[in-house]
Amino acid sequence: MDLSVINPILLLAALMSAATPILLAATGELVVERAGVLNLGVEGMMIVGAIAGFIVAVNTGSPALGFIGAAAGGAVLSLLFVFLTQVALANQVASGLGLTLFGLGLSALMGQSYVGVKPPRMADLDLGPLSDIPVLGRILFSHDAMVYIGLLIVLGVWAGLKFTRAGLVLRAVGENHDAAHALGYKVKRIRTLAILFGGACAGMGGAYISLIRVPQWTEGMTAGVGWIALALVVFASWKPWRVLLGAYLFGGITQLQLNLQGAGVAIPVEYLAMSPYIVTIIVLVILSADKSRAPGSLGRIFHASH
C-alpha cells in the first residue's frame, strides 16, 4: 500500500469533473420535481443525450455543438413523457420507468455504427492568469467549459426559484396544482416547460460522460448515474445547493476510492465501491432532518375539473 501515489490536488481537480454528469441531471430533475412532476426517466434521457451528443460531435467535429445536440436529444425524449403524463394523464411512475427502458433501447440502436469511434476532444477553458494560481488554479480553474456551465445552471436554478416570479409560479404549481389553477396559472404548460428543461439537463449530463469522461460510445454507458441523480434530489430535500454538495461529495468519494484501489489499500474493493453511495446518503439524510418536505403535488396527476 502506498498512499503517496494519491495526489490531493489532482484528486480535488478530478472531483469537479466527476460530479458534473450527476450535477446536471439532478439539477434538471430538481426543477421538474419542484413543478410537481416525478420523472423517473432521467437515466433514459441521459443515455439518449449521450448518444445524440456523440453523433453530433463526431459528425460536426465540434464538442460544443455536441452538447447542444445532447440537450435537444434529451428534451425531445422528454416530450414523450410530456405526452404520456400531461396529455394522456398516464401514471408518472410507470411512464418514467418506460421512458428509461425506451431510452436505453433507442440509444443502443442509434449508436450501432459509433462503437469504437473517437469523438473530438473538448479543450479546457482558458481562464488566463486564474489557472496559474498555485494549487487553486489547478483545482478550480483548469476545467472544460461544461463544468462551469453546470455550476452556472445550479446558480441560475437557485436564483430563479428563489427570486423570480417565474420561479414562484413554478413552486406554486408543484405545491398545490389545484390552487394554482384556480388562480389562473397554466399548470400543464408550466410543467411541460419544466420537463423539457429537465430533459435537456439530463441529456447534457449524459453527453458529458460520452464526450469527456469516457470519450467513446458504449451501450448503457451511463450505468445508473440517472438513478443516483434521482435519489440525490430527494436526499437534497429539493434544494439546489444541497444537490451541488451531494454531487461533489459523490464525485469526490468516487475519485477517492478509485485512487485508494490504485494505491492497493487493504480494504475489499466491494466496500470501496459502495462507499460513495453510503457516505452521500448519510450526509444528506442528516442534512434533511430539518422541516423541508416534498412538493405537495409531487407525482399527482393534474386534471382540471369544473
Partner: protein
C-alpha cells in the same frame, strides 16, 4: 345608477346536469348580496363563471354597463373582481407574501409587498405576518391571507364562498365588521352561504337558487330564516327529535391522551381526558385543524396511542388496532368520505365488506362471504335512503350527500356501542343532514354512546347532550349543551385567536 354586475339568462350545463338554468342576477355598487342555496344548487358554478374559471354556455354578463366575458381568472381580477375561496387556494409551503404575490397581476418586489400587506392588514383589522409559512397558520389566519390578497387589488366586487364555515363566532364578528367597512367604501360583496342568520345580519339583498334555477329574491332583513330555508329546500324541514333517554354507564373514557402530530403541519393532541356514557351524545366543536382528525384517528386505532389512555367499557384498548376496536364495539366514521371512509373505486358492496367484515360475520376463516356483504350493502341503501342504482356501483359515483349517508349508515347498522363521527353532515343537503342527525339520536336512544365531532355549531347544539371544544389540540371542559350561549362556546373554541376588531 348603473348596476355593477348584471347577469341575464346565464346557463351552464354539464353532461347529465344543468348547473345553471337561465340565472339572472344584479348587484349594485357597495351592496352586500347573498347567494343562497343547498349543495348542488349551482352557487359555485355561477361564481366560477363570474370569476372566469368556467365559461357560460349561454347568457350575458355585464360589468358597469359594458359586456363582460372573462377568459380566465386573471382577466376577472383585472376587471376588479376578487374571490375568497371556500377551500382555500393557498400554498402551505410558501410564505404569506409569496401566496399573495401569486394572486396579483403585477406583484411589487417582496420587500415592498410585505409593507403593503402590513398596511392593508392594519387598516382592516386583519393582522398578518408576511414572512410566516402559510402551513403554520390557523384557518382564520389563512382566510385573512385570501382576503388581503383580494383587497390589495382594490376590487369592485368581492366574492366570498362560505367564508364563516371555518371561523369561531368571535372571528365571524370581526370578519363582518371588515366586510361592512368595505361595503361602506363602495365595494360590492357577493356572499355565498347557507347560514341564514348570518345572511340576515349582513346582507342587503339575496338571490335564492334551487337546482340551478333562481327561485326567488328577498330582502334578508325583512324575511324570516324559516321562510328563506323553505325557499332554498322547496319544502318545510322537520328538525330532529331528541328523546331524553336515561344515561347509563361510562362506555368510553380517555385518560390524559397525548399524541405527537403525524405530519409537519399536523396538530398534537394534548392531555385529553373525557368520558362518554351510554345514551349520551357528546358534541365536540372547534375550528378545523385543531386536532379533530388526530382525535378521530386516536379513537379509531389508526394512530398508535400509549397504553392506559383509551378505555372501552373499562378495558384498555389503547394498544389495539382498528379491527380489534371494531370487534370490541368502538366504531368510527372519518370526515373525508372519498379515500378515508370509503375506497373511491370499489363498489358499495366492497366498501360494506371493508368495515363490516368482523361485526357482521361477512368473513369466515379468511374467506369472504360476498352474498352476505351484498345484502348488508342493500340494507344500508334501503334504511338510509341512499340514492344509487345498486350496491355494485363504485363509491366514487355517488354524490357527497348520498355517500355520506352510506358511510354513516354502514357504521350505525353494525350496532356500535360507541360511535365516533367526524363532520357527519359536511357538504350534505339539509334534508339528508336531518336524516343523518336523527339516525345518530336514535342510536343514542338505544343505548350507544355517540361522539360527534363537527364544525357546525348549530348541528352540535341540535343533537348534543354535552359539549366540549378542541382548541390547539386541547379539549375544553365538558358542559351541558342546553343553555350554552354563543359567546361561551366561542370562548371554549379559543376566542378570536388574537384577531382585533377593524378600526372603522
Amino acid at each position: 345608477m348603473t348596476a355593477l354586475l348584471d347577469l341575464s339568462g346565464v346557463t351552464k350545463a354539464y353532461p347529465g346536469v344543468v348547473a345553471n338554468d337561465h340565472v339572472s342576477l344584479t348587484i349594485q355598487p357597495g351592496e352586500v348580496h347573498a347567494l343562497l342555496g343547498e349543495n348542488g344548487a349551482g352557487k359555485s358554478t355561477l361564481v366560477k363563471m363570474i370569476y372566469g374559471l368556467v365559461k357560460p354556455d349561454a347568457g350575458q354578463m355585464s360589468l358597469n354597463g359594458a359586456g363582460y366575458a372573462p377568459a380566465d381568472p386573471r382577466a376577472a381580477r383585472a376587471a376588479g373582481i376578487g374571490m375568497v375561496f371556500q377551500h382555500f387556494s393557498l400554498f402551505d409551503a410558501l410564505t404569506v407574501a409569496e401566496n399573495i404575490a401569486l394572486g396579483m397581476e403585477n406583484a411589487p418586489p417582496m420587500r415592498q409587498l410585505a409593507a403593503q400587506i402590513k398596511a392593508v392588514s392594519e387598516t382592516y383589522g386583519l393582522p398578518l405576518a408576511p414572512h410566516r409559512l402559510v402551513g403554520d397558520l390557523s384557518a382564520g389566519e389563512r382566510q385573512r391571507v385570501e382576503i388581503i390578497r383580494c383587497l390589495l387589488q382594490e376590487p369592485k366586487l368581492l366574492i366570498m364562498d362560505e367564508p364563516t364555515s371555518v371561523l369561531t363566532p368571535q372571528e365571524v364578528d370581526i370578519l363582518f365588521k371588515t366586510l361592512r367597512k368595505l361595503s361602506a367604501e363602495g365595494t360590492a360583496i357577493l356572499y355565498i352561504s347557507h347560514k341564514l342568520e348570518e345572511i340576515r345580519s349582513l346582507c342587503d339583498a339575496a338571490t335564492i337558487l334551487r337546482l340551478g334555477k333562481v327561485v326567488g329574491h328577498c330582502i334578508p332583513r325583512d324575511t324570516s330564516a324559516a321562510d328563506m330555508a323553505e325557499m332554498m329546500v322547496g319544502s318545510a324541514l322537520k328538525p330532529p327529535q331528541k328523546a331524553a333517554g336515561p344515561v347509563g354507564d361510562v362506555l368510553l373514557e380517555l385518560r390524559g391522551l397525548s399524541l405527537p402530530p403525524a405530519s409537519a403541519f399536523g396538530m398534537p393532541l394534548r392531555d385529553i381526558s373525557v368520558s362518554v356514557r351510554a345514551g349520551e351524545v357528546l358534541g365536540i366543536g372547534g375550528v378545523a385543524g385543531n386536532g379533530q382528525d388526530e382525535l378521530l384517528s386516536a379513537l379509531s386505532g389508526e394512530a398508535q396511542v400509549p397504553a392506559a389512555t383509551v378505555f372501552l367499557k373499562g378495558a384498555d384498548v389503547g394498544r389495539l388496532g382498528p379491527n380489534a376496536r371494531r370487534a370490541a364495539g368502538l366504531l368510527t366514521a372519518p370526515e373525508e368520505r372519498l379515500g378515508h371512509a370509503a375506497a373511491p373505486d370499489m363498489s358499495l358492496t366492497e366498501n360494506a365488506m371493508l368495515t363490516g367484515a368482523a361485526r357482521q360475520g361477512l368473513e369466515r376463516n379468511g374467506l369472504l362471504n360476498w352474498g352476505a356483504a351484498r345484502s348488508f350493502a342493500n340494507q344500508i341503501i334501503a334504511d338510509f335512503d341512499v340514492r344509487t342504482p345498486g350496491p355494485g356501483n363504485a363509491a366514487r359515483s355517488l354524490s357527497g350527500g348520498n355517500l355520506q349517508k352510506f358511510v354513516i349508515g354502514r357504521e350505525i347498522l353494525q350496532r356500535p356501542e360507541v360511535l365516533v363521527v367526524n363532520q357527519p353532515t359536511w357538504g350534505v343537503d339539509a334534508s339528508a343532514a336531518a336524516a343523518i342527525r336523527q339516525a345518530l339520536l336514535d342510536l343514542a336512544e338505544h343505548g350507544a354512546a355517540v361522539i360527534v365531532i363537527s364544525q357546525d355549531l348549530d348541528e352540535l347544539m341540535e343533537i348534543s347532550d354535552n359539549f366540549a371544544a378542541l382548541n390547539e389540540g386541547r379539549l375544553s371542559a365538558v358542559r351541558p349543551a342546553a343553555g350554552l350561549t354563543v359567546a361561551e362556546i366561542g370562548q371554549m373554541m379559543g376566542g378570536a385567536h388574537g384577531m382585533e376588531v377593524a378600526h372603522v
